[in-house]
């Protein structure tokens, strides 16, 4: 192949992006992952807004992972306002997060990445070849959305979460009624792991620095410390000292590096590699049954990691739903005071960081949101460079597909990732 590759619109990813690979004298000269979705000025929207508006506004950043934006934002604001939530509230937030993992992971496994691994063009082609498989994926996704709707009032962009707790407790019976479907989902997830282990993943491994939240006694999703595979464990407050965002001219999204200018990788692979010992027993059993060895250094095996997390989150959701019996108030009362706080949680696509400054009236004076896909962009480009020398030996069409498959394995959420922190960064 001796022509440049240009993929003008990446398919089956959220948002709008393009990829150009330029060749010179038969070798790769330039790789441009170009994000052209209009920058989303959400941080700007939040300036001057009342703090309690933030969870509902940030939820609009993404139609697939709105809960993650609510969870990181409420935790940051609760830190800023020195609010402590109750254990009941924490458990319901965990259950809400499980709902998002189930719907988001089911979507990516079955409808976005699986067609690549079985060499089909789309989920519609996959549905023609293996209808029962795709039906299973759709039912799993629906179970996640139903749980999300029961807690959050809507299956997309839920509205019930507030700083201090929830606006109302969902009806007990409505939550308990979902348990039989969640039990089906757990078994379907175990089957998904077995099926995922049979897929042919491209032979591609890199020596990544994985970064994910970590807790001593549970598989961290809702909150935690920030752990790196290089052994560094930091408090969420120190995130911006260790992980730096910078503007890249060709792209509307910011790119992230470690403070010593290395790329790093967030998401399901990072979580699983760093925290697999904290998985629930049923998910551990699924791992054992397929004889999986850690660490996983193949980005395509993100699908396998998502499948294992499906088992974990379905099992956790069943426990939380069965135990759900709210007694206390659905949110705590507190006084508004000026302050600054950060919140981190694990969105399905990886670590999501929020920081806010609130004034004495409860108005937002500063907002910073660092989504997982923005953190992974530099790593994606690095992977493209590693893949390119062999990929360009293929035909133009095959090479394009090879690059697209790699990017889709990251499950990039480009709409979430496109934002500017400050416009004056460009002028400096």
């Amino acid at each position: 192949m001796n022509q440049d590759i240009h993929i003008p619109a990446l398919a089956r990813v959220e948002g709008e992006g393009a990829l150009t690979i330029r060749l010179k004298d038969g070798a790769v000269d330039e790789i441009l992952l170009n994000i052209y979705e209009p920058p989303r000025f959400f941080e700007g929207f939040l300036h001057g807004r009342y703090f309690q508006d933030v969870p509902d506004i940030t939820a609009r950043i993404c139609g697939i992972c709105p809960v993650a934006y609510q969870m990181s934002s409420v935790q940051a604001l609760e830190a800023a306002l020195q609010v402590s939530i109750t254990q009941e509230v924490r458990q319901l937030r965990q259950l809400l997060y499980c709902a998002e993992y189930i719907e988001s992971h089911a979507l990516h496994i079955y409808l976005l990445q699986a067609p690549d691994l079985v060499k089909l063009e789309s989920a519609i082609s996959l549905a023609a070849e293996a209808p029962e498989l795709v039906k299973q994926g759709l039912r799993l996704k629906k179970i996640g959305n139903d749980l999300l709707k029961t807690i959050g009032g809507r299956s997309v962009h839920p509205v019930n979460t507030c700083v201090g707790g929830f606006y109302r407790w969902p009806a007990e019976q409505a939550i308990h009624d979902l348990v039989p479907e969640l039990e089906w989902a757990r078994q379907a997830s175990i089957d998904t792991v077995k099926w995922a282990a049979t897929l042919n993943y491209p032979d591609f491994e890199q020596d990544y620095e994985f970064v994910a939240l970590n807790l001593i006694d549970e598989y961290a999703i809702y909150d935690g410390y920030i752990l790196s595979s290089n052994g560094k464990r930091i408090a969420p407050l120190d995130f911006e000292k260790h992980y730096i965002e910078s503007h890249v001219e060709r792209s509307n999204a910011l790119h992230s590096h470690t403070a010593d200018n290395h790329t790093y990788f967030v998401g399901p692979l990072a979580r699983l590699n760093l925290n697999h010992k904290k998985l629930r027993p049923m998910a551990k059993a699924a791992v054992k049954e397929i004889s999986l060895k850690f660490p996983l250094r193949n980005p395509y095996k993100g699908l396998l990691a998502r499948a294992i997390e499906l088992v974990h989150t379905c099992d956790l959701a069943i426990e939380l739903a069965n135990e759900y019996q709210p007694q206390g108030p659905c949110h705590v009362e507190f006084n508004i005071q000026p302050g600054e706080g950060v919140g981190v949680s694990e969105a399905p696509r990886g670590l999501l960081y929020h920081r806010y400054v609130v004034d004495e009236q409860g108005l937002i004076r500063f907002a910073r949101i660092t989504p997982p896909t923005a953190q992974n962009f530099a790593q994606m480009e690095s992977d493209l460079w590693a893949l390119a020398p062999t990929a360009i030996l293929q035909s133009q069409e095959e090479a394009s597909l090879t690059f697209e498959h790699l990017l889709r394995s990251y499950d990039p959420c480009i709409s979430c990732a496109t934002h500017f922190l400050k416009l004056n960064i460009e002028k400096e």
Binding site: A9, L10, A11, R12, V13, E14, G15, E16, P38, R40, F41, R60, G63, I64, L107, H108, L111, L112, S122, A123, I124, A127, A128, P131, V134, K135, L138, K141, K142, N145, S155, V156, H157
Partner: protein, 169 residues
Amino acid sequence: MTQLPDGARDKPPGTIKLIGIGQSLRGDDAAGLAAVRLWQEKYQAENARPNLQVELAELPGIGLLGMINGAKIAILVDAVRSNNQAGTIHLLSTDQLEAFKDGAGSAHGWGVAETLALGKQLMPLAMPETIYVIGIEAGELSLGEALSPEVELVLPEAANLIERLLTNG
């Protein structure tokens, strides 16, 4: 066997689903939501339709299949992009939707056209017998809440088309 009252059909009328689809923060992408809201203001109180369910769906993605599953008739109102003037109203059959497949702007590549194609393939018996898609040609799709004047102008026509489909469709 209990006699049905005069005028009743042999079987109860199936559910009709009216769904406005779009994103309220992305300019004319909210056209479908706005048209259904206007229909609610102007017409909903006029005729009691116990078998009608109305929903406003922002970024439903493949969740749309769950919303229309089991309905007899579905009327979907959404913004579309072809090469027509902003504000042009299209009444499309599902076959005609092929021309509007464009995953890039929708949640993880699942627009209405792709979703209905998947539903037709996977669960043909659960899909509505009739699906009408009212497409409102979008002009401005950048970030912001306001509709463009061309789209705003045709909302009454779109609401009237919804009412006519509900009455005669």
